[in-house]
């Protein structure tokens, strides 16, 4: 059947309005699910939807095909209202093979749309997924879900049978069939993907042609095949006007550094050792040498941190990054930066632990490590971004604080923020606060540990400055002169001074913004990547009339000066975290409030539904 013929006989299908939808593409690691998801995200963003994404992939690079642990998935929620999270339960699941079906089916809502690639359901793949019989032949599947069995492999091969590609190459384009089909179902524009194909395969016209044809074939299949009775329309969301782009957390951290380098006019030396999920920052920065970012792929985590410290000693901004296991290795070096009182920015892209743990999954369990994970009294400033785009501002702020106070600043991102993306209103970099850098050049009255009365920061001196030759180090030193000192009272004074210097960063913290009433039954306190899930749950409770508010902390050390007061304005305090209860301990210790935790440590973002349930229990219990 030719395309024209199809158009003539097929009447347009009805479009149903949806406020939001949660879609997940799942398949084998080699099926290109991440790419499919990213392109669907871009199409949805261009369609004006607000959205949030959750890529989820195995730690193994090429896990054996067809296995349960080799399944890779990409989920996104898009909608016509604010979308805070990638969603809990799925409206639509695309399963490219039996393993993907087995792993993900449990998350599909009853009555949800289930699209499967039938050709992948052969004996071999069924065996690998542990299915004794073909689940597609089980009638209950079609009763429970709106099951669509599509032979994507055959339809793909047919669409490009005349192209000079081998079967393997042809088969590899089937993810575009899935993308085209789902794009039709949710009325997403194909143009962004067509553009992308053109650019990406500019040097390989055949592959470009194949992907284009298969994408269109998937789209046409939705339109023509009789199995899809309707498609869905999601109106554009009400979003602040302006220019948008999709932003992931890792890229935003990198670009935040670029902005800081440009504004401060300082070179940045970034020391890193490859580790999931932080490596993307190193790779991103390495592409932007024009910003005077010098990257060092160090021999180990310790060298990455110490090279950054050496750079800071030289008058550049030293930055290092890792995930939890690497941060543990950097601990002694961070202590050196604390006592040498040099600027240092440390990104910790948290992942599941302990030890190697779950390298590609998310967690929030490094808060205690960030606050206390060093020998002796070694306080550092700790910041946490709330969303992927927020990573940009937090990275910039980390540099600003580090050079102003001559302190290490730790930034706690996580695997969810690192790889997740959101539509991001592009900021005007000239509106970012200035980064004031003052290098001392005057030898008159100079001492290495002479302190700025406002910040308690010591002078930053670039080696090469005549008359200011001096020595610093890890041994305790006398305040002001910097001479080695073992004096007990001086040590006590220095311990307090280093702590006070970090405390003074509280001067930089704006008043805490409260989402909801200023007083009430329940305050939900969160930090980091759980922002979306908490906000969505709290707003749902608010629409039901509950006196619930939330605050989301960007500054974890020092804490906002007004937080203690805010906590006392509510009868109960709930702290949802992807750990066993770390911030909740800090709040209880710091403010003597009877805060309770909500904790799930599953390597996944918290579910809005679960937080909502926890809110309901506490809010109801107190009224």
């Amino acid at each position: 059947m030719s395309e024209t013929a199809a158009r003539e006989v097929v009447a347009p299908k009805p479009r149903r309005e949806l406020a939001r939808a949660v879609v997940r593409f799942a398949g084998d690691s080699g099926d290109g699910m991440q790419l499919t998801g990213e392109q669907f995200t871009l199409e949805s963003a261009v369609a004006g939807s607000d959205l949030a994404t959750l890529p989820n992939f195995p730690a193994e690079i090429r896990a054996p095909a067809g296995t349960l642990f080799g399944v890779s998935s990409f989920q996104l929620q898009f909608g016509s209202q604010r979308v805070y999270t990638p969603g809990d339960r799925l409206d639509c699941l695309v399963a490219m093979n039996p393993a993907a079906l087995k792993v993900h089916l449990g998350d599909l809502k009853p009555g949800g749309l289930l699209i499967v690639n039938t050709q992948a359901f052969d004996k071999r793949n069924l065996d690998k997924a542990g299915y004794a019989a073909n689940p597609l032949e089980d009638p209950t599947l079609a009763e429970r879900y709106r099951l669509h069995k599509v032979d994507m492999t055959a339809l793909t091969l047919e669409a490009i049978q005349d192209l000079p590609l081998n079967t393997k190459e042809k088969d590899r384009t089937k993810n575009f069939f899935a993308l085209g089909l789902v794009s039709w179902i949710y009325t997403r524009p194909l143009d962004p993907t067509l553009e992308w194909i053109k650019k990406k395969f500019a040097k390989n016209a055949t592959i470009a042609e194949a992907n284009t044809r298969v994408l269109k074939a998937g789209h046409a299949f939705g339109e023509t095949a009789e199995i899809f009775a309707e498609c869905y329309q999601v109106e554009p969301a009400e979003m602040a006007p302006g220019l948008y782009r999709a932003m992931t957390g890792n890229r935003a951290l990198a670009w935040g550094l670029l902005a800081a380098a440009e504004r401060s006019k300082l070179p940045i030396v970034y020391g890193a050792y490859p580790i999931t999920p932080a490596s993307g920052i190193l790779e991103e920065l390495a592409m932007h040498k024009r910003f005077r970012i010098r990257t060092i792929q160090a021999e180990d985590e310790i060298a990455a941190a110490t090279a950054a410290i050496g750079a800071s000693f030289g008058g550049a901004v030293g930055v290092t990054a890792s995930s939890g296991p690497g941060i543990a290795l950097k601990g002694e070096a961070i202590g050196l930066a604390v006592t040498a009182e040099l600027p240092l920015v440390i990104f910790d892209i948290q992942r599941g632990g302990p030890s190697t743990g779950l390298p590609t999954k998310t967690e929030q369990a490094d808060l205690m490590q960030a606050l206390y994970g060093r020998n002796s009294e070694a306080p550092v400033v700790v910041l946490a971004p709330a969303t992927p785009g927020d990573c940009f501002f937090v990275a910039y702020e980390a540099v600003r604080i580090a050079v102003k106070y001559m302190v290490p600043v730790m930034v706690l991102s996580d695997g969810f923020l690192a790889n997740g993306s959101e539509p991001w209103l592009i900021p005007d970099p000239s509106t970012l606060p200035p980064i004031d850098v003052h290098f001392r050049t005057d030898p008159d009255g100079f001492f290495p540990y002479l302190r700025d009365p406002a910040t308690l920061g010591r002078p930053w001196v670039r080696p090469g400055t005549p008359g200011l030759e001096h020595r610093i180090g890890g041994i305790e030193k006398q305040d002001v002169t910097g001479n080695i000192s073992y004096d007990p009272d001086n040590h006590d004074h220095m311990v307090r001074t280093r702590a006070e210097k970090v405390r003074r960063v509280a001067q930089e913290i704006p008043p805490t913004s409260i989402n909801g009433p200023a007083t009430g039954d329940l305050l939900v306190v969160g930090w980091g990547g759980t922002y979306g899930a908490i906000t969505a749950a709290v707003e749902r409770a608010q629409t039901e009339g509950k006196a619930v508010a939330s605050v989301h902390l960007r500054h974890l050390n020092p804490l906002p000066p007004d937080l203690g007061h805010i906590l006392r304005e509510y009868r109960r305090v709930l702290v949802p975290e992807i750990n066993s209860g770390q911030l909740v301990r800090v709040l209880r210790a710091e403010y003597l409030v009877d805060a309770v935790g909500f904790n799930r440590v599953r390597g996944l973002p918290l579910a809005t539904e679960d937080i909502y349930d926890a809110i309901s229990q506490l809010a109801e219990g107190s009224s």
Binding site: R245, K289, R292, I302, A303, T306, A308, I309, G310, G473
Partner: protein, 342 residues
């Protein structure tokens, strides 16, 4: 901004005193480190580099107190990490002259990994490794260069470890300048330090150094007058490898693929081994030689030229800038896929 050495500003005429800091030196009386400190301070004026452009970086251990005593910029860091700190400093500030002062424990045990990588990268800095074959600061445990079977506080029945040879290690890592000198041979030490400091790339100098408290006379083979005369082989570029007393000169020659000691008198000139600093393979053979069966080579084993790590880093940055201009964050933010919401 000042730059190293030559340039607009005249380098002041320094003396040794200009490089002495106001800090009390806290090594044990009689420690070999005093001699090294003095030799380094004496060598400094000859480098022709403004004092403010010189930085000493150290790790932990007796030797690592060194920066406090130099009236230059200095950073006493953490155990074993000085090469990594210095690498970061050089990448940030290629205009500075950087020295790393380390010891056998700091540089070859806890910091062995960093030593390997700084040498293979060929970062432009000078490493002075004080080798006293003992942990002094922690009061006398054996070190990675201690001889096997060494009886120390932590090895009352003798150490089980086989020692690492610093010169062979450095050459194996691809070091571009490798030398050995002795704390009690002042003139040789000064000369070696100056040559190392002038090398472009990582210069590695092993200084045989005495710990008179925990490992006294461990290098007696080059201290004791008679032993020294019998064993010390001064490496000099372009000269034959001869050693021993005048009336009993010995020649080091190659016998097939093995080095061999033969009487010099009986050796025809064309069989002599002429020292060539540019021959790294020959240096690797020399690196393994030591008394009593072989001479103890001192001096420059190898000096070759190779690309410097931070030169490549800076060159890439310059290339990126000259091709596309200095980065502009406002432009970058708007690059790629964007869309407008009205």
């Amino acid at each position: 901004m000042s730059t190293t050495g030559a340039g607009a500003t005249e380098v002041p005429k320094y003396t040794k005193k200009d490089f002495e800091s106001d800090q009390d030196v806290r090594w044990c009386p009689g420690c070999g480190d005093y001699a090294v400190l003095s030799a380094v301070q004496k060598s400094m004026p000859d480098l022709g580099i403004p004092r403010e452009n010189i930085v000493f970086i150290s790790g932990i251990g007796c030797s690592s107190r060194f920066p406090y005593y130099m009236n230059t910029y200095g950073f006493h860091t953490i155990h074993g990490r000085a090469p990594a700190i210095a690498t970061g400093l050089r990448v940030a500030r290629p205009d500075l002259k950087v020295f790393v002062v380390t010891g056998d424990g700091d540089g070859l045990s806890i910091g062995g990994n960093h030593m390997l990588h700084v040498l293979r990268r060929n970062v432009n800095l000078t490493i002075l490794l004080f080798n006293n074959r003992i942990y002094g600061l922690t009061k006398g445990q054996y070190s990675p260069t201690s001889e096997q079977g060494k009886i120390t506080k932590s090895t009352p029945m003798g150490s089980a470890d086989r020692p690492v040879n610093p010169i062979a290690f450095a050459l194996g890592c691809g070091a571009t300048f490798v030398a050995r000198t002795v704390d009690r041979h002042i003139a040789h030490m000064e000369e070696t330090i100056k040559r190392a400091a002038a090398h472009r790339g990582t210069a590695f100098v092993e200084i045989l150094q005495n710990c008179n408290v925990y490992n006294d006379l461990t290098w007696n083979v080059v201290y004791d007058k008679e032993q020294r005369l019998a064993h010390e082989l001064k490496l000099e570029h372009g000269k034959p490898l001869l050693f021993g007393p005048v009336d009993d000169r010995q020649a080091l020659v190659m016998d097939g693929v093995n080095p061999k000691v033969v009487p010099a008198k009986a050796t025809p000139p064309d069989r002599l081994w002429i020292h060539d600093e540019s021959n790294v393979n020959a240096a690797k053979i020399l690196a393994d030689l030591f008394a009593p069966d072989y001479p103890v080579p001192v001096g420059v084993f190898a000096a070759v030229s190779a690309p410097v790590y931070e030169d490549v880093v800076i060159d890439q940055e310059q290339r990126a800038i000259s091709e596309k201009g200095v980065g502009d964050i406002a432009k970058l933010l708007k690059s790629g896929d964007t869309w407008t919401i009205e």
